[in-house]
Symmetry: D2
């Protein structure tokens, strides 16, 4: 195991990265890209790839956008070539005809991205490059195929088999903790003391997925509270003065915050795997844990209520819990799944809507998003597969009888969107 | 750096791997494969993938071969679908039409391999699967496209950016050293004492490339001797009783053995990168090093000589060194490159044929392959790029004046093959 | 090296420590101590020692003080026994007579401390025990012999050969950085951002000594600024907005803060070794470094000036720099060494008084202690041994000609204390 | 934990050690030793200590012996000084009088050894120095006091709190395994394959104690077999072809070999602690383990039988098992404890003589020492303390009823030695 541990601590990797770039090649970056895709030797290829990455970092947004359009337009497939190669392969499926078809049917920009990735440390840069693409290309459909190319390659490179789960704790290096503070997306971390309160107590845990080629960057992380009973208020959970529970006395692991860290990995899904891996690890470490549950926001609730002219502030006889149950169970997106994105995520993972709590998140953000209402999604490891399948095939939403009755108690103000 | 080092030492990874497989799914493995490619959820996908990998391990050779034929035949592209998708994309290049074309033009067996790889630890199994394919499919052209699919994915997964260079030393774990003994392909390692002689002395080094998802398996390694002057005899180099040179007094690093370890990674080339990375690392560690050179076998020499009725044993007036120089410089493969595979490799990397030595490898294997003759390929870091390019474009072979004269001195016995 | 690294990461050590203490032994702690010193077996000894350490932690100050007096009074040597054993050894110096003398001449409390230390993790507790002793025993001469026993053993356990130097950086674990903030004694660290400013920039370094049995506790640390030229103002050094210098461009390493961390290790000296080791390490890492120097406070200056009715605030014609030079070079403690403790430390290490700066520390503390004046002590590695020896034997103070002239320029207001 | 792990991997420590020694000091080593003990500064002290250690390594045996005599004779206590200091302390027990007494009553050679130990890496050299002393001083009573000084200091430095337990496995570095082969003292390891058979199988374990200042050197190690039932034959245990037992199916951990590694640590006892720590660790890792037992030789049996003219080879009606039981239970050393050293060790630890097996070690050594008879000592963790105490106070030997009856069945040939 120590060898395994050592594997990545390769001083020279960093030296390599920091190393002097070959002297600057003054050709336009488009020409460098063409040369890289055409280059034979790995040797000159590496130097070219480094050159392109350095040059890209120096571009301004307009130049980046122009380059993305160049990739999309000028490094696309050539339909005629594809057709010819296909016909040849159909006629005589040999090694050569197959290779020709493979090459023809894959746009050269994919090979470009793949070759850029051969520079040590480049993976993170490519993830940032896609973040640029998503940011700059928003609303421009002509760039969407290029984004699919990135996604196709990233799905292959960031598959579960390559990811590494790491606990994040008060023993973690400060530069990693810096990023936890920066990336926390659900319940903001105000200060190092706030962070300490989420990592150091015996009844708190945090886990993140990393990729070996981006060891300084968490991809996604989850914060966990070990509790007795299922918690119904995030204020209580985060209270600085609460009594610390010895981990061995906990019966419940509550996932109270899940944050994706990399804009450039949008739609590469890690959350499902993370929750299940962490649940399995905690169950093995703490045999007393019997319940795995979230305490989750309902980010779409307040907006829906506004649209529906439902009042959630108690000023009429609407029960906010009933309204929330109704929203989660009945209000659908165009594809037939639940409208709320967090509900889609957990139900898609096979979780069940277990309970709904009012006054559960009284922060400004919590009140604005969902009038303080939160929800527990329950991960019953015996049932997640069945729940998941029924959700995937029939859009069936699993819920506890209590939540089902709650939803039934909500009298819709007017007809609802689908 | 310690966090980096820790990244992979994740106990649970191993737990995960060793963990109980989901209960056995009795469907035929072909059906499991179809289900995996069709599966929506990562959840059931992971279980399916594990199932397939376990089942594959239990197949006999005939069953494996049948399965490979199934992959090749029944999970190939469908030309009509490709044509339609291509037409649609050509007509209106949108996100959806591009996605349809991407899916249609990639055989489902590629997606299958990609999904199998999502099981932690699967990468090594897939490498062994390709080794099976190469072994069982030898001479069967219908399986060559399937092999191209493996190569395509492996080239992406084993790109330089993901590889990690590690020194191998007498401080390395025994189970890694076991594999060095097993994989040494050039000058066999007879015993642990023999191994110790190549790792422990101050004037010896060994380096290997690893992949983070196969941390127990070296991919390729190189053995290096630090010397004063360029060595001309591998016996002298490996002599047990030689005087150990303090590393700081060496002026030359001699790469005397390079071994690929994984049959399943055939044609995924690491050697060029390894040599250059090791040279760069050694140069940084030991500023006294001025020369980077190999001491290499000429595996094709004896066979060629036999074919040409050239005698290399001194029984006529043929000078074996001249004959070897001639063979290396003048005898070509059908593609116009040198006939000798080791020469192709080093010349392709940009090395230069520096010197030829007779009586340089008097082992049984050395005498049988090349009548004891060996060659130094010189890596002059200032010239490798130029050499490489001239070799790649013009098939020009760089050689020292001495070797060029030597070659000129050889009177061919009869006309030579190309 | 990885095995070496692994050596201490022994999970069970922690388990052991955290493990259930043997059931409580209700005898008075004095009896437990007597039993431990008398105990034969290591087995029961370990349980006794654990018991005593746990019990000690629960004592209040009065009880601790009483226990210290018990150690001092009732576990002292017995003069008659020493005399007899001495006579026997003098008469016949055998193994047995020597052993008897060794046992008789060492108070049993030393053996008690030694046996307490056999509990994994106990070393840190013993250091805290001595801190209690120093705190509670202040002004009580009867407890000074007990303190000498602690010092005697600590000097043996914390010798240089057992210490480990570690860089402290933004990659260090948060719980270690917590302690750096807490222990910084010279220029207080206000916040994590302040800490980051001292650790993360390329021109900052920090190093600490650790002991393998107290791996969570730095013993002493030094903060270093890499600069061009010798700095003369700590404000400039710590300025948040300054320009970061690439480390390779620095010619000077300035030790601007040295803090002892453990009250319980008072008078066990690490500072000299730390400075020299860090200087040697930095010199090896950064060949451009030519000068090793401190930027140090003069903590005794303001008090001396007050006593001497010297005004340092510019309200008369006293030159504060001259006064400081005079103070450092001429004002002596009763033992003939310099009165200022920081000067004693650096001059004792062989450093030279290089320069004096006014307006160099304008913080409240800096103004109060030394009217803002600071001093550079220069570590000229070629001369430290000679300086050290002249200081040790003749109390000779090494100073630059500039500082010597400065001192000569100070007209003492009235006769000075020694 | 990773920081902890990192603590010792300090590159510079090695650099330091390897670093250039200060220029050679040509004074006689005796003078250097005197200077070191007298030296004030840690600085010159370190250089002196390094000098002495290097010089000592170059001495031949006669010179070493002379130096030991010098230490013993000329660096001893001075009785008159001790008497004066004692009187002064008795008269007025102050800090100063106590310090004077401490200094007077401790021979300067102890301080010498302590100061030598301040050189990084010196601890191992001092252990070898004591090994030299034990070897060269054998039979010379005048050197025994010097040995007591070493033991006194080593007991303090090698106390349990500083030791680190490490598993030794096929993942351990080769240079550590080298030492396991070299130091195995009970059942010799013939080859790396033999070693692999003791480390790699799932039903084998090995553990060693290390000291942080000698990380390359195991101090003591134990080899463990995990079995079902208590084994009665070491041949069966070590058989290459046996069936490997999954560790979780084992109910018994059998300690079949314990080897001390360092001659220079003779009489510094680690074995008791090692067995109990390993038993505790294995019990925590494998809850199925219910029995902790040894399979031990009886090294004194054959010699005793010869002396007693007891035949153990079956050539008369002596039952070798009865004779062995009798020997273990009844035959005493002068101090009243059992004559057999292995029995003394395990009984002293609180173990019980559980069973006796004939034909249990048929190796040449096993036949010669004990006619092939072996014994199981049982560590019943609930009873070891009681057994230990009864053994320590009353010399009472705990044994199973079977072994007690066996012993009763032996008819002594003639009266026995005590």
């Amino acid at each position: 195991m120590s060898f395994l541990a050592d594997l990545l601590s390769t001083v020279f990797e960093r030296r390599y990265r920091a190393g002097p770039t070959a002297q600057t090649d003054s050709r336009p970056i488009e020409e460098l890209a063409a040369a890289l895709v055409g280059s034979q030797g790995e040797m000159s290829g590496l130097a070219l790839a480094q050159q392109i990455l350095v040059r890209f970092d120096g571009l301004d947004d307009a130049e980046k956008l122009a380059l993305f359009h160049h990739f999309e337009r000028d490094m696309d497939i050539d339909p005629d070539t594809v057709r010819e190669a296909l016909a040849a392969y159909e006629h005589a499926p040999t090694k050569d005809s197959y290779r020709s078809f493979m090459e023809a049917s894959e746009p050269r920009r994919q090979e470009l991205i793949r070759r850029l990735n051969s520079v040590p440390g480049a993976t993170g840069q490519l993830v940032r490059m896609r973040a640029d693409l998503l940011r700059l290309g928003r609303g421009d459909p002509t760039l969407e195929p290029l984004d699919l190319d990135f996604r196709h390659l990233f799905a292959s490179w960031f598959n579960r088999g390559f990811l590494v789960l790491r606990p994040i704790s008060w023993q973690s290096p400060a530069y990693i903790l810096d990023k936890i503070i920066a990336y926390e997306a659900v319940h903001a971390i105000d200060s190092w003391d706030d962070l300490r309160g989420r990592l150091q107590p015996a009844d708190r845990r945090c886990f993140a997925f990393f990729h070996p080629s981006m060891p300084d960057e968490p991809l996604i992380f989850v914060e966990v509270a070990l509790t007795r009973g299922i918690p119904g208020s995030v204020q209580d959970l985060l209270a600085g003065q609460r009594k610390i529970l010895p981990a061995t006395e906990a019966d419940t692991a509550c996932f109270y915050s899940i944050s994706n860290c990399q804009a450039g990995l949008a739609k590469i899904s890690f959350g499902n795997l993370l929750i299940k891996q962490v649940a399995a690890d905690l169950a093995a470490e703490l045999p007393g844990l019997a319940t795995f549950v979230t305490l989750s926001p309902i980010p779409g609730l307040a907006r829906w209520a506004r649209d529906q002219e439902v009042l959630l502030d108690g000023s009429d006889d609407t029960d906010p819990a009933s309204a929330a149950a109704h929203f989660l169970l009945k209000v659908k997106a165009p594809d037939g799944g639940p409208s709320d994105p967090v509900a889609r995520f957990h139900l898609g993972n096979g979780a069940l809507i277990h309970a709904i709590h009012t006054g559960a998140d009284t922060s400004a953000k919590g009140m604005a998003q969902s009038a303080g209402v939160m929800v527990n999604y329950l991960y019953d490891l015996d049932k997640v597969t069945r729940n998941h399948e029924k959700f995937a095939t029939e859009r069936a939403i699993a819920a506890s009888p209590e939540v089902t009755s709650l939803a039934a108690g909500h009298a819709p103000a007017r007809s609802e969107e689908s």
